[in-house]
Assembly symmetry: C2
Homo-oligomer: 427 residues x 2
């Protein structure tokens, strides 16, 4: 029995009790939200990790993508990224590896981290097709489900699957004539599969079969958004919203089967459409947890997409998004380096803290206030500790000449320190 | 006669015609907004630069702060910062130097750049007091106004002056008992001056005298916000709003005297209070252009304050802010390095572009769309050119192995390129 079915039966498990405490919520209220599917607990029943908790009333969580590719096959670097993600406070990882022994890579990552792990099984489907010298477009339903079951059996905690790509949504996509086309890697494979085979994708046509596999391992489904806009000018169009509507139906079916679900979202979205995007998702998908990729608020921030991602993520978070996928400075250009991963996690953590603060999450308020108290007291060690990047904050201040470091206040204002002066007035 | 008085007399000057064209506005409509003070043209009548244009209906502009301090007296580095600010698209500079020959530094900066230049004369007042071995608190009105006139006579385009610090606002500040006190360097000097001298500051008591000096050189006044919150928990409190109300009265008086004005704003503000802050400023100050310092949406982003500043600046911009003061990664820690300046300008430019796009500014939409067209065409040279940081975008892609660079698409997705695949479906 999945934990969602247990919650629907009224059971308050130890896991629910612990999660509710962590989120500063009442356990019974928490159980109810899990039963409704408004909160999703993400943990494969085979893994003994602290679960990822996302949804209504919880603090915003951050995901980081890692993984090998044909241009970056060095697994040790990917494992170093895992450690960086943990160090800077990511709550989940997605392994998007497309090159090497994919199962062995996943095992190594799961052995390295206690963070929840997600995958996009389509990449391995494509990889296996390649090994068999066949096109990904000729994959059978059995071959697809075999990969999905392998991921579940191995312990993966959540799977991104683009189940909302149907004949109907592909047709809508063709009709809207976007400037930027589609940008979902997994989603476009399914689009092409439907286009090529002239039939519904097994991920949609055999969705109940998929749910049975997920339920067996209590794996959560992250309903991928194949038609997310890849350009601000394409945001919130009919292809995107039609798919979202179908994802809402699939959320309903997952809930009935007791499978935890959440919904992926855009993408590239102008700032003035972000709140609308969150509201329409929460309505069409009946308050399913929402997982956004950015959203980027401009297409022009190449090399600094983590910043436009943080702008979009913060506003989305305030409007109700539950889970932020990081964006690194390398987005659109190459796979991220170690530094890019660090910058990406930090940018998303700033967005999450800003949004939680705006929503009144007590832990977020307390953290900002503790920082202010430390600043007023010139307590630099506490200031560093509460910073999103303690090492950088320390290194910046320690780059000063010794005479300045000796001063209580920082070198930015020196003798003009406003804190000192206003304390004089307040005495 | 100042250009505001000319505009009030119905004159459409060449400057107005050129500015209106640049902003994609009708010249007569533009003149009217200048006459009302809803748009401020910032240029000292002694300087022949392209003016800084801020206010209603114009695109959002970005300011960068530079300047020496006792820990950083190397002027050549500051001039290098000027060049970086120009390169990455800042629209104005503020020279906040507090060490060295301040007049000579300003001259050198003005000789180097054609960007509008602002200063905070209080720093030089404090510096001159120090030279005379007296306290800044013993400065006379004549000494203060002498510094202000010197800045104007030298060609400075706008001055930040904390005229809203009065006995009444200081009293309110004492009563609100903030967690984070005050963080305006200039503002706290005036607070202390009032506290020490038990009388109104000359900047308020002799405001008409101040306006006469500014009018003589057609210098704009940036009404400083001494009581801006320095912590998210202090945002939008009575001290801040009371000062804003006084600043609104001072805007009215500046308009009557034909002096261009704009109003400085917070600071540290939780995301959910930003729109309110912009609306209350626009109302209390009768649509004066608004110039925000960030705002930072969390106090915990030390080392990465440019990111929380970009989050706050973008939302503020969408809500109507006209002018963003950059925040660098060095904020709260030290004076910015060259790299910090670059990162700060870029973060603010991303915020400005995101906000302009959300407001429907045609040039912003066209820039995002041109980028999308270039991406779809794999036209990398145009992609770099349209990026906020062409060199970094190019360097990232060129760090790839040659086999990957040869491909049309980027190495992030490689063979899984969604653009290529969706083009297949759309054929």
């Amino acid at each position: 029995m999945t934990r969602m079915l247990e919650a629907q039966n009224g059971q308050i498990t130890e896991e629910i009790r612990a999660a509710a405490k962590l989120e500063n919520m009442d356990a019974e209220q928490f159980r109810e939200k899990v039963a409704q599917g408004h909160i999703t607990i993400v943990r494969n029943s085979k893994r003994s990790i602290t679960p990822l908790i996302i949804g209504e009333g919880t603090s915003i969580k951050v995901n980081a993508n890692i993984g090998t590719s044909s241009s970056q096959e060095d697994l040790s670097q990917e494992l170093e990224k895992v450690r960086l993600c943990e160090k800077y406070g990511a709550h989940a990882l997605m392994d998007l590896s497309t090159s090497g022994d994919l199962a062995a890579i996943r095992k190594k990552i799961m052995d390295t981290t206690s963070l929840a792990l997600g995958t996009v099984p389509l990449y391995e489907m494509a990889f296996r097709a390649q090994e068999k010298k066949k096109s990904v477009l000729d994959l059978t339903a059995d071959e697809m489900f075999a990969v999905i079951e392998d991921h579940c059996a191995q312990g993966v905690d959540f799977l991104t699957l683009h189940c909302g790509v149907t004949k109907q949504t592909v047709q809508r996509f063709k009709e809207v004539k976007r400037l930027g086309g589609a940008t979902s890697r997994g989603g476009t494979i399914i689009m092409e599969w439907i286009h090529h085979n002239k039939e519904e994708s097994p991920l949609y046509a055999q969705y109940d079969r998929l749910l049975d596999i997920l339920a067996k391992y209590d794996v959560a489904i992250s309903l991928g958004d194949a038609f997310r806009p890849g350009a601000t000018s394409d945001a919130t169009d009919r292809a995107q919203i039609e798919e979202l509507s179908i994802l809402g139906e699939l959320v309903d079916r997952a809930r009935k089967r007791g499978v935890g679900s959440f919904v992926e979202g855009p993408g590239h979205v102008p700032l003035n459409q972000i709140v609308t995007n969150i509201q329409i998702q929460k309505r069409l998908c009946r308050n399913a947890p929402f997982y956004v990729l950015g959203p980027l608020t401009t297409d022009t921030s190449l090399g600094h997409d983590h910043i436009s991602g943080a702008i979009g993520g913060a506003l989305a978070g305030m409007a109700g998004v539950d889970f932020l996928c990081y964006v690194t400075p390398a987005e659109h250009l190459r796979l991220p380096s170690l530094d890019d991963v660090k910058e990406g996690v930090i940018a998303s953590k700033i967005a999450a803290q800003s949004a939680d603060l705006a929503k009144g999450v007590p832990a977020a308020i307390e953290r900002d206030d503790a920082m202010t108290r430390a600043k007023i007291a010139f307590d630099w060690e506490t200031i560093y500790k509460l910073s999103v990047d303690p090492e950088k904050a320390r290194a910046y201040r320690e780059s000063l000449p010794p005479s300045m470091k000796a001063e209580e206040c920082c070198s930015m204002c020196g003798e003009f320190c406003a804190v000192k002066r206003s304390n004089e007035v307040l005495k």
